[in-house]
Symmetry: none
Subunit: 232 residues, 2 copies
Amino acid sequence: MSIDGPKVLIVEDEPSQLELLSYNLDVEGYNVFKAETGEQGLLILEETEIDIILLDWMLPQASGLEVCRQIKRNKATKSIPVIMLTARGEEEDKVRGLDTGADDYIVKPYSIKELLARVRAGLRSRDGGKGVDVLSYENLSMDLTRHGVTVEDHNVHLGPLEFKLLRVLLEAPGRVFSRDQLLERVWANSLEVETRTVDVHIGRLRKQLNAACNDDYIRTVRGFGYSLDKFA
Amino acid sequence: MSIDGPKVLIVEDEPSQLELLSYNLDVEGYNVFKAETGEQGLLILEETEIDIILLDWMLPQASGLEVCRQIKRNKATKSIPVIMLTARGEEEDKVRGLDTGADDYIVKPYSIKELLARVRAGLRSRDGGKGVDVLSYENLSMDLTRHGVTVEDHNVHLGPLEFKLLRVLLEAPGRVFSRDQLLERVWANSLEVETRTVDVHIGRLRKQLNAACNDDYIRTVRGFGYSLDKFA
DNA sequence: AATCAATGTAACAGTTTTGTAAAATGACGC
DNA sequence: GCGTCATTTTACAAAACTGTTACATTGATT
């Protein structure tokens, strides 16, 4: 039970998920508020100065989408960052497209590590918006909040998938990821995606990165997969 | 399907928990096997060389307790560390007291961080820590997660077979392996492979290593086989 | 030194894996 | 609906890897 930390509101109907999330956030020093329905969540929002909201997409009564709308409609709460938790297969693209006003979303099953990173990013964006979340390796750097990538000081424009792909690689530079692992992380295992698709996207990513620099940042490990590695 | 990492078997009936655990372990580089019932779990244990087991206390049919007993009764599996996952209120004290043979237990809701720490600890306690990801001998080192090999600070590029071969040698530096032993370990005895093939691959490995350093790391023991040894 | 068996290795052919362009698909905004 | 864009699949080319063979070299033994 932390005393101060930022206040996080979790709205999630499945108790075990709620517990787990709450516990993990608590361990990190956050001040956790729990709600099992949208109504409860909105009530808590009225009473407490919440700093960030984790909102399950699927909720028993009002859908997460609806709850999000309500939060964003209310002047007092509209500036609170909302991270939507969506289950695999609930078509993340639609989520992105929809005008929910959500600030971020994350697809289940997510790694707690990633979730925590997003929460931090969300909090940063709120107060001052100055803080940056930057991943980098050698001369390559990725600004998560700006969604921008730089190689040797050249800006590189990446499509959404390429961006995600690079992000995964960048989260553990040097580590070799099998095609299956990449499918799982980048494509959230949306079944029916060929493993070879990974190759094509790796190829594109490579081309984009190399266009700006010369050295090859992506290493192919024959028979295993790929890694971000200036192996030389 | 992860490639390297230690193999973790999770036995947990609640799908969302199973997914979450599995995903988080996978992200950390473990090779995850999933089972929703004790039976399934035991089956997997028969087929696969599991390194550590996460076992839910509450299971639909056979209770986790019973499954644990069975694991510990079986000579082949008794040495595999078992971490029990118990829900709060299921009287942890009793768990501790009971002679389940479990090596560790953790109470829900747990922080993933803590769980991962316990898993690492469990693996360490096993056989001297099979969870090592760097093998080395003298100035030669092999990073398993990176799939990279270094000799005197030079990177060496090895093909999949050469890599495996070196790995076997590196797991017991100095020990002499006969060609048959190497065939067994590296080629998994895929029938119809000539003995002489080993020589060829040893030769290739040698060439690659020597290209980067000068000293010969591989010793030929005439009439017996090869070993990793900077003898002369 | 001559012999013989064991080992080293280059070269080849066959296979597998990866790179990539281009066509098919699908989503979205107009 | 239609064009545009991003993604996925497909198909083929290129590259890397493998196992075998043949021949060269080595080392032990006589």
